[in-house]
């Protein structure tokens, strides 16, 4: 298992090495790692636990804002700023999930989506400490302590490390008692209870871990693009829904799914934006939308699921 994990992660590192001297490609690779990790963090509660949260933008936003505010207002290194960011996101996650977990299925999804919108309005309204709609600009002062780098590849390395962390946590969880509890309650809550699982506690723990990891992504993201305003982190289609979508397309509830989803969609999006949007504004989104509809129709278990089916069919055909 460990060998497989190391091999898989080494494979994921290859694009960085190929793009090492091309800042355009390096940027795409960096974003792909980030989105893969965020989709992986979402997958812990959304995939393993089957709790279809559309409110992960809240935790992402908390991670980004806390890190950015502490850095610009109090000169706290982002490395340290991540700690309170994680703590706040975890607390908020437990507080808002507690009531939301009374709801099941689509109703849970809608409730979490509402939390995302509340966060948007709140942050937009508050002048202090979030600077309202004007947002926060982070001045460029390169240095390891500032998590701001001159060489682009360092960002790629940072996001790669984040992806390794998220995947490792997911892997450990998948082989842990809590992981099994999440899988069981996803399948059937009554059956899970009959097996001695405290369903609410397991959901809350899963959500807390997922939110903590998402907050780290928010912090890394804001130090990479060095600007944050409410639409950047709270636009549903770009953030909260996107995490879920990438995991869905890749293969929900699997370890590799979020990585596959991000590897397909993020570069494709970039390509479409570059090639189509100039000729016909909005065309890239139309094409992307069609691809997602097709994935929803024909790849019900994502790329990972389709690959498994294909491998099985091949094995049968050879026999």
């Amino acid at each position: 298992m460990a060998a497989k994990f190391v091999a898989g992660m080494a494979l994921v590192l290859v694009p960085t090495l190929l793009a090492l001297h091309n800042n355009y490609w390096l940027d795409i690779v960096t974003f792909t790692y980030l989105m893969a990790a965020l989709a992986g963090a979402w997958n812990i509660i959304g995939g393993f636990g089957g709790q279809f949260s559309l409110g992960h933008g809240v935790f992402f936003g908390i991670g980004a804002y806390v890190t950015a505010i502490l850095y610009t207002d109090a000169a706290v290194s982002p490395w340290l700023g991540l700690v309170p960011a994680i703590a706040l996101a975890t607390v908020v996650a437990v507080l808002i999930s507690w009531p939301a977990f009374r709801l099941r299925g689509p109703f849970f999804a809608i409730a979490t989506m509402a939390f995302n919108q509340v966060a948007f309005v709140l942050v937009n309204y508050l002048d202090w400490p979030t600077n309202g709609p004007r947002g926060i600009l982070i001045p460029f002062r390169a240095g390891f302590a500032n998590m701001i780098f001159l060489q682009r590849w360092r960002y790629a390395a940072l996001m790669f490390a984040y992806l390794v962390l998220v995947t490792a946590v997911a892997l450990l969880l998948r082989r842990d008692r809590l992981g099994y509890a999440l899988l069981a309650l996803r399948e059937d809550e009554d059956a899970a209870r009959a097996a001695g699982i405290n369903v609410l506690a397991a959901k809350l723990q899963g959500m807390a871990i997922s939110a903590a990891l998402t907050a780290i992504g928010g912090g890394l993201f804001v130090m990479y693009i060095r600007f944050i305003d409410p639409p950047t982190v709270f636009t549903l289609s770009d953030v909260g829904v996107r995490f879920a979508l990438l995991a869905l397309i890749g293969g929900i509830g699997t370890l590799i799914g979020p990585i596959l989803g991000a590897a397909l969609i993020v570069p494709l999006e970039n390509y479409l934006r570059g090639s189509l949007a100039n000729a016909w504004p909005g065309a890239d989104l139309v094409v992307l939308g069609i691809i997602m509809v097709l994935a929803a129709l024909f790849l019900k278990r994502g790329i990972a699921g389709a690959a498994t089916d294909l491998a099985r069919a091949l094995a049968r055909w050879r026999r």
Binding site: E187, A191, R193, A194, A195, N198
Partner: protein
């Protein structure tokens, strides 16, 4: 006499305007095999839900291993040693058979390896060892029911509550299931079974409790109860004279 494993005292459940379970009292001793029977709508399933913690009784007392469990939820009772199956089997269909059993094993164990070993042991016991890598959704009905029993067994329970586990099985599968329960009972496991099929009840229950309209109308040794006129009347109707 030692304390009974499960003790129900004056348990009632009232839904608006309907007394579904009416002042039911009985004990189940360690190692017993007890069956609850009764016609449709007699309140068997409601009583079952009171025992597993799905519902809380309106009045009365339920003790398990000497502890009052009236207000404990299903997962707490499961942790105390109450395993159960569902009337409509609830296998975790996207998980493998092994993983299903492991979910139960994790109730007592922490480490993955131990849970896996325990799961293999109970899967062998119920005869699913050749299916461990299959998805639970691919199993036949009879296999699904055995898988539920395996999941319950993996928790190392003291009492197993079975809800109509024979429904939908063919005669040879029924025989096989009865053999399994007898074998487990011989090992010291206590069974409380809701069963519709009187043949099945005759085959394995030592003691029978009869419910009708929510109330207990009879209790006693299986042979006596199943031939008592009162029970026959409640169950199959009055004999025409």
């Amino acid at each position: 006499m030692t304390d009974p494993l499960l003790s129900v005292h004056g348990a009632s459940k009232r839904f608006v305007g309907l007394l579904a379970v009416d002042d039911v009292s009985f004990d189940v001793g360690k190692g017993e095999m007890v069956s609850i029977i009764g016609p449709n709508g007699a309140g068997k399933t409601t009583l079952f839900n009171l025992l597993t913690g799905q519902l809380a009784p309106s009045s009365g007392e339920i003790r398990f291993r000497g502890e009052i469990v009236n207000r404990l939820g299903p997962h707490k009772r499961a942790q105390l040693g109450m395993g159960r199956t569902f009337q409509i089997a609830k296998p975790l269909i996207h998980l493998t058979v092994l993983e299903n059993a492991m979910v139960g094993a994790f109730a007592r164990l922490r480490a993955l390896r131990q849970a896996e070993e325990k799961a293999m042991l109970v899967l062998e016991e119920v005869g699913l060892l050749d299916r461990t890598r299959r998805k639970a959704g691919e199993l036949t009905l009879s296999e699904r029911r055995r898988l539920e029993v395996a999941r319950a067994l993996a928790m190392d329970p003291e009492l197993i509550l079975l809800d109509e586990v024979m429904a939908g099985l063919n005669p040879s599968e029924v025989t096989r299931a009865i053999d399994l329960y007898r074998q487990l009972n011989a090992r010291g496991l206590t069974f409380l079974v809701i069963e519709h099929n009187l043949k099945v009840v005759r085959a394995f229950a030592e003691r029978v409790i009869v419910l009708d309209h929510g109330a207990m109308i009879a209790e006693g040794r299986a042979e006596e109860i199943l031939s008592s006129p009162q029970v026959v009347e409640a169950y199959v109707g009055r004999r025409r004279t």
